[in-house]
């Protein structure tokens, strides 16, 4: 696992194709082998200045399952940050208590700042609307596992593409694998122009539309995201949009889809995916959430140098 030892995991942009493939491979091995003592004696500081369920719990569980220990907090209300301590001071002090930091913070760039300050590895578990690289790793892992390959897929991104950091990062990563991409969203939540430009610069075939109609049959993967009510000034607008981007088994089968279509969602969902999908072979979002564990075990083991 060269390339990961003592490395910060800040942004998907810092990883090339080979590194991505090697961490996916390690996640696979983590599912198969017993690794209960791999990180014995190591301490993870789990610093969540902003709430999270899946990311925080899967990191903490991964650390414990590898025999390590966890310190930290789940919201900043009870910490010195609430007394006005700067993030820089906080991480400088906490560095002395642990071997690795997992950080979620509402300010964009906070993980980069932390990693510039401390000497131990920092893992970005979400910095505002910017990056959440380990989510992208596990999204890739889920696609690879359920499709059998990452190469040459046709992927549809659906929902809030403007604010969805998981979409931006996954699209960036899939560009390494020759994906063709469809971005399907209401006009007000389109994929940011600079993301599209960057993808096109990297020779990705990108298409934008407002509906799945006419596209659905071509897709190997749908990556669905939540449309947040808060993004709309006008509640009527929200109601309109919400209906259009609601996937159900009947809707999809009427429009026509590939038999082996897989649907991912970073969760939590509101009602953009009907329960009727849950029991179909298309739905892989619960598996995706479970994949957080082997992937985060792989990341912790690789970064802490327990795997060679």
């Amino acid at each position: 696992m060269t390339g990961f030892k003592q490395k910060d995991i800040i942004s998907i942009r810092h990883f090339n194709k080979e590194e991505l493939l090697s961490i996916l491979d390690l996640a696979q091995r983590m599912e198969q082998t017993d690794s209960a003592d791999l990180l014995k004696g190591k301490v993870l500081a789990s610093l969540f200045f902003e709430p999270s369920t899946r990311t925080r719990l899967s990191f903490e569980s991964a650390m414990k399952r590898l025999g390590g220990m966890v310190i930290g907090f789940a919201e900043s209300g009870s910490t010195s940050a609430s007394k006005g301590e700067s993030l820089s001071d906080s991480v400088r002090i906490i560095e002395g208590y642990c071997d690795i930091i997992v950080l979620r913070h509402y300010l964009e760039g906070s993980a980069q700042l932390a990693s510039d300050i401390v000497n131990i590895p920092v893992i970005n578990a979400g910095d505002g609307a910017n990056q959440h690289p380990t989510q992208t790793f596990l999204d890739l892992y889920t696609i690879q596992k359920t499709k059998g390959t990452l190469e040459g897929l046709t992927v549809g991104f659906l929902g809030d593409l403007k604010y969805g950091r998981t979409v931006h990062s996954l699209a960036y990563a899939l560009a390494y694998f020759g994906a063709e991409m469809f971005f399907i969203s209401p006009p007000s939540l389109r994929m940011p122009r600079d993301c599209i430009d960057e993808l096109r610069d990297r020779k990705v075939k990108c298409h934008e539309s407002e509906s799945l109609m006419g596209i659905s049959k071509r897709l190997d993967v749908i990556y669905c995201t939540r449309i947040q009510k808060e993004r709309f000034a006008d509640p009527v607008e929200y109601e309109k949009v919400r209906g259009v981007y609601r996937l159900s088994k009947t809707l999809l089968e009427e429009m026509g889809i590939k038999e082996d279509l897989k649907i991912l969602h970073p969760l939590p969902r509101v009602d953009e995916m009907d329960d009727s999908l849950d029991t179909t072979n298309y739905a892989v979002y619960f598996q995706q959430a479970r994949n957080g564990l082997p992937m985060r075990k792989a990341i912790l083991a690789a970064v802490l140098g327990a795997i060679v």
Binding site: L87, L107, E108, G109, Q112
Partner: protein
């Protein structure tokens, strides 16, 4: 002796080949109102390269590198001439550096660099046209987004 469009200075710096429209901005960045000696500003002078150009002559001052970097962001074609005893003794083109620290601030209000006492740092990912990427939040800024500190 050749006739100068804007009069001569004995010692100092001449910033030549400024994009005419940016001249006053350059003057502002260089804080010329605080100069003690003579400062001359010319706008819409004819230029072989630019059609119209701006020029700023600052008496008694040798411009330093950091200030030159600031100019490079809005006047990428500018030339700096150092004048000693009425003669040009040194001439260099302004150059956009690879990393810009403490000159431009990130335009993202949610960026950590706008909330903590840290020096903004931007990577120059393209020089012409200028494109900057924030070291912290990764946002990309074009010339219209650039906010000088």
């Amino acid at each position: 002796m050749k006739q100068l469009d804007v009069s001569a200075i004995k010692d100092g710096s001449v910033i030549d080949h400024i994009d005419s429209k940016s001249t006053l901005k350059v003057a502002d960045i260089l804080n010329i109102q605080n100069e003690e000696q003579m400062v001359l500003v010319g706008i819409n002078l004819t230029s072989k390269f630019l059609g119209k150009k701006g020029i700023i002559k600052i008496g008694g001052k040798i411009i330093d590198q950091k200030e030159v970097n600031k100019i490079a962001l809005i006047a990428p074609d500018a030339t700096v001439n150092i004048i000693k005893d009425y003669e040009v003794v040194k001439k260099f083109k302004v150059a956009v550096p690879d990393v810009i620290e403490g000159i431009v601030k990130c335009f993202n209000p949610n960026c950590v660099s706008n909330h903590h006492k840290i020096t903004p740092k931007l990577h120059v990912i393209n020089k012409n046209p200028i494109k900057l990427q924030c070291h912290y939040c990764e946002r990309i800024m074009n010339s219209k987004d650039i906010l000088l500190i």
